[in-house]
């Protein structure tokens, strides 16, 4: 089968999903009202609350949710064959992720643009708010540990990417300074910055950099992980305008360029898919496809992380309520399309089935490495770019995505630690440096605890990360469903995805518990037990909240801002 057929079928399904399913949800379920005054108007302060162009908001939602995770997940899950991964990404994006992201924005707009975590306490129960915070902390902890491991792997595997990856930080700082301190307009820094970034890829090709094979008893993987966390700690303490903001911006530009290049190359080269549709010969260590497929691909099909983005910042800037469909649903389709092109890269970017099997000889293999290899093969045959250059280009793109996520989530973790310091009256925790140190140390313990002394075995955390991410999505869908039941609206379109993802996350956590216990990964067993407890509590909280809402129906619409 040709890869472009897969691309066309996938993209067409997503377009139809937006055209028909999201319209149905907007009209019959969320019942978006063009006359409803959004918090961006009612609470306008021109800082947090400000009506913003929907294309700009869509760009943010899209670039904030599409990062390294929708590349790594499908890059691993292809081990079961391309058909299940493709079906889950497409159906998940249309029926789960779109409804979830769109719903999170709608629910937040109807609750004074508070974040989902904040209004869960009012809509469901105060206990579920605590649950929310715990799951968020777990997700952040795992995302940092696992992304550090992934970045270390890529920097070791592609030494030519070291210079462009680190020079992106310098480029970001220069752009930030030019714009904020010197008042330069955005256009030229963007154009010159992007050109410099791509020029650095050529330089990286000429001057590949590797860390020593051993330094103070540390293996290269461990050295990179320590360097990355030291960087993340410093970066998260710097003012946002200096690094995080321009870095995020450059990443957004990179994402659009990268997606355009990849899809363009797929249509130009039209490679043949070499991976099997259903892999009947999976490696012995591969877990069962159900439930593990549904947590291995979290971002790209449905991910709780999106709810945090949608309800935190997007809802405060939504100009009109109907824009929620465009921003939330179409934003998640953007991420789905990145997952789709990854599936194509890791199934059609290999010369033969034998080469593909070599890459996927064990569960957890592939991921970014397979994406970079497969994507580079397609890029070089589609546009005639040199293979090594394409490889460096994709490595840089993926590592920059992971790096920016890490910057932002170390910062978020620091805020949570500082908040604990305030709540539990431990003044030392409120200190920014101490809180960052605690956040980074926790991540390091997890990365090395799970990955061994060289830190490279840390991919074990990936399915656990997916599991906690799915639980977060389940919680958000629960909150939306409770709101819908209270309003006497059809709730089946959010309840079915909620039950499905929570159940799959629960089953996956149970399966992993046994596997982790039998391989002696006791620290991860502890985290897994926490996830299982959270999943059970979500199911209990969910059913009791829904029963309460049903009994109280029909509610006073005014209570929900109707």
């Amino acid at each position: 089968m040709n890869a472009s057929v897969l691309a066309i079928v996938g993209l067409a399904a997503m377009v139809l999903g937006f055209r028909f399913y999201s319209k149905f949800i907007a009209d019959k379920v969320y019942r978006l009202d063009p006359k409803f005054e959004t918090p961006a108007h009612t609470m306008r302060d021109n800082v947090d609350f400000i009506p913003t162009n929907r294309f700009v908001l869509w760009g943010h939602h899209f670039t904030a949710v599409a990062g390294a995770a929708p590349i790594v997940g499908p890059g691993i899950a292809i081990i079961w064959g391309w058909a299940p991964a493709f079906a889950w990404v497409i159906l998940g994006t249309i029926f789960f992720s779109g409804v979830h992201d769109f719903g999170a924005i709608w629910a937040s707009v109807r609750n004074k643009a508070q974040s989902v975590g904040s209004f869960t306490g009012e809509v469901v129960s105060p206990r579920s708010r605590t649950l929310f915070m715990t799951v968020i902390f777990l997700v952040l902890l795992m995302v940092n540990a696992v992304f550090a491991v992934i970045m270390a792997r890529e920097l070791m595997g592609t030494p030519s990417s070291v210079i462009p990856v680190w020079s992106a930080i310098v480029v970001a700082i220069i752009i930030g300074t030019l714009i904020y301190k010197m008042g330069v307009g955005i256009l030229w820094p963007t154009v010159v910055g992007t050109i410099v970034l791509y020029a650095m890829i050529f330089l990286g090709e000429q001057v590949p950099i590797s860390v020593p094979n051993e330094f103070m008893g540390l293996a290269p993987g461990a050295q990179w992980i320590l360097i990355l966390f030291a960087y993340a700690a410093i970066a998260s303490m710097l003012p946002v305008w200096l690094l995080l903001q321009p870095r995020d911006y450059i990443n957004g530009i990179q994402l659009f360029i990268g997606l355009g290049l990849l899809f363009g190359a797929v249509f130009m080269a039209n490679p043949t898919i070499v991976a099997p549709a259903w892999n009947s010969d999976v490696p012995t260590n591969a877990p069962p496809i159900v439930p593990l497929l549904f947590v291995t691909i979290a971002c790209g099909a449905i991910s709780g992380f999106h709810g945090l983005v949608g309800s935190g910042t997007t809802a405060k800037q939504l100009d009109k309520e109907p824009d929620a469909r465009f921003v939330g649903y179409l934003g998640s389709l953007g991420e789905g399309s990145l997952a789709l092109v990854t599936i194509i890269a890791v199934s059609a970017g290999f010369a033969s089935l034998g080469e593909w099997k070599e890459m996927y000889s064990s569960f957890g293999d592939g991921g970014l490495t397979a994406f970079v290899h497969g994507g580079a093969t397609i890029l070089s045959s589609g546009f005639g770019l040199p293979f090594a250059f394409s490889e460096t280009l994709l490595t840089v793109m993926a590592v920059l995505f992971a790096g920016t996520t890490m910057d932002a989530s170390v910062r978020l973790q620091r805020y949570i630690v500082q908040e604990w310091g305030t709540i539990y009256k431990i003044p030392v925790l409120t200190n920014g440096y101490i809180a960052t140190l605690i956040a980074v140390t926790a991540c390091l313990i997890l990365a090395f605890g799970a990955g061994g002394a060289d830190g490279t075995g840390g991919m074990l955390i990936w399915p656990l990360f997916g599991t906690s991410n799915q639980l977060l999505a389940g919680l958000t869908l629960l909150v939306i469903s409770v709101m819908l039941v209270k309003l006497g609206r059809p709730s089946v379109y959010t309840l079915v995805p909620m039950v499905f993802v929570t159940l799959m996350a629960f089953l996956a956590a149970l399966h992993q518990l046994w596997q982790l216990y039998s391989t002696g990964q006791f620290m991860l067993v502890g985290i897994d037990v926490l996830i299982i407890i959270a999943a059970v509590m979500i199911m209990l909280e969910g059913s009791s909240a829904l029963m309460r809402a049903r009994r109280a129906q029909p509610s006073d619409p005014a209570a929900l801002g109707q």
Partner: protein, 94 residues
């Protein structure tokens, strides 16, 4: 911007691109940057008024001429710092 013909179209296009890119750059961090700026301003207020509150600070001599401007923000500042009424006898803003 008054060029006729195709240059006008290019200029218009560039302006739209600039506006959208600026919004794309600024809007996600507008709140965070404003808060960071407010924190810095708060520190500056503390330095400017520390002498009046009994903390010796040679900078006061130099910031004295800023008082009329800072005074406008004084009430907002002390309430944000958790002091409901003006801490300075000479400055009764509330």
């Amino acid at each position: 911007m008054g060029e006729p013909g195709p240059w006008r179209a290019v200029a218009d296009w560039l302006r739209t691109a600039r506006e959208l890119l600026t919004e794309f750059y600024v809007s996600p961090y507008r709140g965070a940057v404003a808060r960071a700026r407010r924190d810095q301003d708060d520190l500056f207020m503390l330095l400017a008024y520390s002498d009046l509150m009994g903390v010796p600070n040679p900078a006061t001599y130099y910031t004295l001429e800023l008082q009329p401007i800072l005074l406008e923000r004084f009430h907002e500042w002390h309430t944000r710092m958790g002091i409901p009424h003006s801490p300075l006898d000479g400055l009764k803003c509330c």
